[in-house]
Amino acid sequence: MPIKVLAFAGSPRRGGNSETLLDWVLDVIRKEPEVEIEKIHLDEANVNPCRGCNACEVLNKCVQRDGMDVLHDKIITCHILILAAPIFCMGINAQSKALVDRFQVFRSRKYVLKLPVVSPELKGKRQGIFLSTAGQDWDYVFDGAIPTVKCFFHVVDVRDRDTRYLMVKGVDEKGAILSHPTAQHDAEKLAKDMIMKVRDLLEHEP
């Protein structure tokens, strides 16, 4: 069975810093045998914000018909879920926040309807990666983003301890990350570690 990777490039800026970080990760994974990678440009994915209607608490599905219809199954069947989002104004950018908020349907499934979100063979095996970049150089620049990102992974059964974070501050203009001393190395190492971990988990299935 191939390892399925679903990656969201959340930035409206194509080929910018957070997407470069994502591409470094995906380039390593792509060289591995038996992997299926899907990269989604959120800007083109037609994901509207959550309407806050709470209908999913009853219907077990979202009332909106948009890009999430296509993404829904991919989100719950992948082994590695990646979100790459830049920091705008001390939080993830609005487009990425809209995607996170649309995960409300999974939250309702899990906590209100108490139904499984992923199939039993994936339970406890899914891994998450959050990649982010920020123009500011402040140590706390990612603090507002992290709780939201935790929600994103948590409601689709990617455990906290199975989520890795690579967040690079002080990169603003397009291409700035290319001259960062460690970002590429860290991204590649993270990807290698992650793929090894998933292989290990899948090989040691009971």
Partner: protein, 206 residues
């Protein structure tokens, strides 16, 4: 001149908990003689920030939509109440979408240095964050504060106070909350009194 107050409702949900809390605040404003108005973000046409950084060069946003006249209006106010429920530990994509668009004001202030707010200006412009959350966690608003802080700072408003209420699920909505609506109403009256006093002390020069 009466104290001008604008409430911005970032909820996709009309007349929900957050908007009702905002309404209580605005009713207090009116009662004290202030001039209160309300904008429903979901009803106006604006798109998220493109992250293109063009505004870093000329201080203008290339996206010409209703966000620009809204910012013009915000900058004319004495008090801004930014209201959003908490979704996935953050403000809604709607409010985040607007805040991210303030980047051109940020660029004028911090990059081009064509915009400067005096201390007196900041002191006499009050920003208030209004929010509700379903969960009871004490930290449920924490990840929202950095984006709100950054926003008020960008537009030259002092972050005056929060009007926040959690445990909406337990109270079955804001109307079941023992104190929140009364406090919001009182805060509306208070902020008008405070701003009136400031206007007397510091004649408006801008």
């Amino acid at each position: 001149m009466p104290v001008k107050v604008l409430g911005i409702s970032g909820s996709p949900h009309r007349h929900g908990n957050t908007e009702v809390l905002l309404d209580a605040f605005l009713a207090g404003v009116t009662e004290e003689g202030g001039e209160a108005d309300k904008v429903i973000l979901k009803d106006i046409e604006y798109s998220p920030c493109r992250g293109c950084n063009t505004c870093h060069k000329d201080g203008e946003c290339i996206v010409k939509d209703q966000a620009i006249p809204l910012f013009d209006r915000i900058l004319m106010m004495d008090c801004l109440a930014a209201a959003s429920p908490i979704y996935s530990m953050g403000i809604t994509a709607e409010l985040k979408g607007l805040i991210d668009r303030a980047q051109y004001i940020w660029a004028r202030k911090f990059i081009l240095k064509t915009l400067y707010f005096t201390d007196d200006h900041v002191r006499s412009h009050k920003g208030i964050f209004i929010s509700t959350a379903g969960l009871s966690w004490d930290n449920v608003f924490d990840a929202a504060f950095p984006a709100i802080t950054a926003f008020f700072n960008t537009i030259g408003f002092e972050y005056y106070d929060n009007i926040i209420a959690n445990e909406m699920d337990k109270y079955h909505g804001i109307r079941g909350h023992p104190t929140a609506l009364k406090e919001a109403h009182a805060k509306g009256r208070e902020v008008v009194r405070v701003l009136e006093a400031l206007k007397r002390d510091v004649p408006d020069t801008d």
